[in-house]
Point group: C2
Chain length 349, copies 2
């Protein structure tokens, strides 16, 4: 019943407060009873929520935090409150080795800044990236990064993201040699920014890495299942991810309107309901919740601010899976490998 990953939870970060976070933790525990938790938040509030979940009576340590990071708070302000806020304390638990990973539904910019300051980037990584799984028509989801941690990226950053994303796909999706593509506005070699062209040239030569670089892809190919990892700067990645979410909602809104438009279509909807529920499950963002900051000396998972308990449980599951697969060490090994080859190439020239 114990000895599994220890996850630090920021109970106060999400839009729905401690209730959804604690219910999500309980749900994750039902799925995986070996998980242990360190929960940071307002003691009174969290204790009340804990009382509603029997399976959290043991293996859960509650630590009071007097403050919390606000959703509108600037990262530069947030980092000064690392010691007193639930978010800062959860991250510090990872730094101090008390927890194996932290999960928060709070302000992304603050979470990133605090995590970077407390955990520092891994050797060989200039900037950490936010990675998540994108639903696709293929056999499995596609790892996408960066989703918004870095507004601008150079070629080296993109290559590092490819290495980190591949480690994600290898460990969590179990793909031995992930197919990696760079997001661009065309697939021809001459398309896109100089950074993209240079990153493509570097990846084309890096055949000693455990990944297969397949060139450029475009926005309309993201869900086709033709790649395992898609790499992009944080600006484009954020635009693509949010546009995909918005469009999926747009189409389902239109679908709802269509079904309500006549008695006949209402009857059709009633008949099709079980099948349509499968579609709903596939598109529910809660089933894809849990984006991870890769490239830090420690694991931090961002849960969607509006995630329901199922979504929170998913984010906790992502954290546990990353811990079990020892992804930080695997990224480190790949990076050592990459740098050793790059150095040998330079020396040979």
């Amino acid at each position: 019943m114990s000895g599994g990953p220890r996850i630090a939870i920021d109970a106060m970060g999400g839009d729905t407060g401690a209730a959804a976070m604690v219910a999500g933790v309980s749900r994750a525990r039902r799925h995986d009873p070996s998980l242990e938790f360190l929960i940071y938040g307002d003691e009174k509030q969290v204790r009340r929520e804990l009382a509603a979940h029997r399976n959290l009576e043991a293996g859960v340590q509650l630590v009071h935090s007097a403050e919390q990071i606000e959703s509108s708070e600037k990262p530069s302000q947030a980092i000064r409150r690392a010691r007193t806020t639930s978010m800062g304390m959860a991250i510090n638990a990872v730094k101090e080795g008390k927890a194996d990973a932290a999960v928060s539904g709070g302000n992304t910019g603050a979470l990133m800044a605090m995590s970077k300051l407390a955990l520092r980037t891994m050797p060989g990584i200039d900037r950490p990236a936010l990675a998540a799984l994108l639903p696709s028509l293929g056999k499995h989801d596609c790892v996408m990064l960066d989703l918004g941690a870095n507004t601008e990226c150079d070629a080296q950053n993109l290559v590092q993201f490819a290495v980190m994303g591949s480690a994600y796909a290898r460990t969590v999706l179990g793909i031995s040699k992930p197919r990696v593509k760079l997001l661009n506005i065309g697939t021809e070699e001459l398309k896109g920014t100089d950074e993209l062209k240079e990153a493509a040239a570097l990846l084309r030569e890096a055949d000693y890495l455990p990944l297969r670089f397949d060139g450029f892809t475009e926005g309309d190919q993201l869900s086709r299942g033709e790649m395992d990892v898609v790499v992009t700067d944080g600006f484009s990645g954020n635009i693509a991810l949010k546009t995909a979410e918005g469009t999926a909602r747009f189409v389902t809104d239109l679908l709802r309107r269509a079904f309500k438009s006549s008695l006949r279509s209402k009857a059709g909807f009633a008949l099709s309901r079980p099948a349509l529920n499968l579609l709903k499950v596939h598109l529910d963002p809660n089933n894809h919740n849990g984006a991870v900051f890769l490239g830090l000396n420690g694991l931090v998972v961002k849960s969607h601010g509006g995630a329901n308990p199922k979504g929170v449980a998913n984010a906790v599951g992502v954290a546990a899976s990353m811990v079990r697969n020892d992804i930080t060490r695997k990224i480190g090994d790949d990076l050592d490998n990459f740098r050793a080859h790059a150095f040998a190439n330079e020396a040979a020239q």
Copy 2:
């Protein structure tokens, strides 16, 4: 029956060749018999297609072109073949005043380069932009630009795009003071690139323009109907547009699978079919076909390479509507206004 806009057609550019282009022209003519056409392409091929459409017997002039621009051709190569290719000749017809607008389904990069060289950018415009209508849940579609003409843009470019996009919304959608937003990765003022922040500051002050600047928006808001014009650099715009197209197809593919998953859901589908057809119409990219290059001294409309006759007719309709609304002059007036104010502000400082 005549005296309407004269549209130059590149009959050879699209993936489906002259057949779809000519059928689309015929369809556009059925909808608007006053349109006249100058069709450029292989004489034998086009003549055969014309023979299939009675309503193209008069008011259509066929001009033979010996060559055509290939879909993989570099813009730098294409511009050397302006005089001999169907694309180049259609654009030259606009330059020489023989046609009011050109429509092509060919290579976007080549079309852009050739149009820029032949027609030149308007005074006050540094770079033309590719604009199109995005479907939304609102009362009307949303104008989006740039969709891929400019990989990188500075603040001045973005402001000029806002002016051009607003002229589009005013003339074609009939909105007297369009609501304009800049696409970003957050709505707070401190989010995004320096270019975006500077463009926002400039637009916030430009209250003499016939537009209402509403700040930043994000990818998941694009189809919400809460703005009339969304402005972005061509890289992000292309990623967003293609991601939206891909996601819409992804969801409808899932929907198709869901309906086929059981006999019961197949029956439900049969019942709901008329309502679902409305959804199909709403999402069919052919119904949104026709992106226009704004900011040139002449109108050029890009039709999707794979457009069917309905799509081509739509692109022709966009061209005709732009001509009738004299959009080039209106953009010029707004730009004069913008520069006069900017100059007065500078003088006052």
